[in-house]
């Protein structure tokens, strides 16, 4: 009897993996999912599709950028380069300023630790199966973007048999 351990990020792919396993004859009772609580201390400043915790460098930038571009576009009417260029310059300067403020607050003031690199495993999936099914199960896990897979063998009776 085999138990296969794997880690995933939260995504539709994960649910596809589980449903494919069930189609392949793995019973629901033989799949064990452990959603992890990811660490909150080391927050990322750049949000991606895979990871976002609400702390970002965009909020203050968008705020100040908008304000600066209103003023820039207004003053631009009496400057050589005109309102559109000055409005755009206002956005760029305001956005950069906002990013710098956020960077300062997040790195210097709060003295945060170095950012974690790479993707976080968010869910642990353990699949119990017969020896003959193990290759197919591993393939399914990999195909649906598991970040890591490991196979363990044990001699005890499985709950599915």
């Amino acid at each position: 009897m085999i138990q296969i351990f794997s880690t995933f990020e939260h995504s539709i792919k994960l649910e596809l993996a589980l449903s494919t396993l069930e189609q392949e004859g793995i019973q629901k009772e033989c799949i064990f999912a452990v959603p992890l609580t990811n660490r909150k201390v080391e927050r990322r400043l750049f949000d991606t599709m895979h990871n976002s915790d609400g702390v970002s460098l965009v909020s203050t930038g968008a705020t100040i950028g908008t304000a600066f571009s209103v003023v820039g576009a207004s003053v631009g009417f009496s400057l050589t380069w005109g309102p559109i260029y000055w409005g755009l310059i206002g956005v760029a300067v305001g956005f950069l300023l906002g990013v710098l403020i956020d960077l300062f607050i997040n790195t210097v003031v709060k003295n945060r630790q170095q950012l974690l690199r790479g993707k976080n495993p968010q869910v642990i999936i353990v699949v119990e199966c017969q020896d003959g099914q193990a290759d197919a199960v591993e393939n399914i896990l990999w195909n649906f973007l598991a970040s890591g897979v490991a196979r363990t063998t044990c001699n005890e009776h499985s709950i599915s048999s």
Partner: protein, 264 residues
Amino acid sequence: MNNFRNVDNQYRRFKAHVSLFGTTQLHLRNPYAIAWWSAAFPGFGHLLLSKYLRGFVLFIWEVVVNYEAKINLAMVDSFSGHIELAKHDLHPRWMLMYIPVYLFGIWDSYRTTVDMNNVYLLAERENAPYNSYSIGAVEINYLDKRNPIMSVIWSLFMPGLGQLHIHRILTAFFALVWTIVFLYASHTLEAVQFLFFGQIQNATQVLDKQWLLYMPSMWGFAVYDSYINTVESNKLFESEQREFLIQNYQHSRFQIKSGKVVHK
């Protein structure tokens, strides 16, 4: 068709609702950030809170009263140092009615944010199930992960597209329609064309100051709103899937066996 119905009213608060028109969710928001967006453009703060109807009312009020009072025009002249011109721009018949509603927008969105943050905390603790899938004759909406950077890029090209990307139909429609009005009435795109030919003087002259000044807030809001909502709906997806896994894939008889890792 929805995948959840609150049949016997057993839950008190819900933290999210997926409908054909979009995903509505409660999450923690900074009341000062929301108040700021109401100051940039009345209505934006409420739209960020998913309080669409009052957001639309305040927004349209702002367009009309600001236009009639010539607030934007007076802003341009004031920022350019032409104080006398600015005094001349403003129409007293409209101007004074601008002030109370403007301040109300800021105050009300701040107050609502503080309230809704409390509601969110209670809803999060109650952890009631909520509708997470909706399919109907005209649309289909479900929880999913989207890339926040793409929301920003599309919003920059055209305010409203970022909202379409994350299925927020109401804000998308509203932003698209008003962006058309602002861009057309302000002659912005004509000015851009002049700039491509290097004719800065012509570009400046063709612009309508009053209408142009609506656009920076429109752009800033579209970017901020689509970005923040992409991030939050990604988080909602994760928390919903987490709950699904716990409900369905934690059988009580499952045992982790001590074994040896097989290396292939």
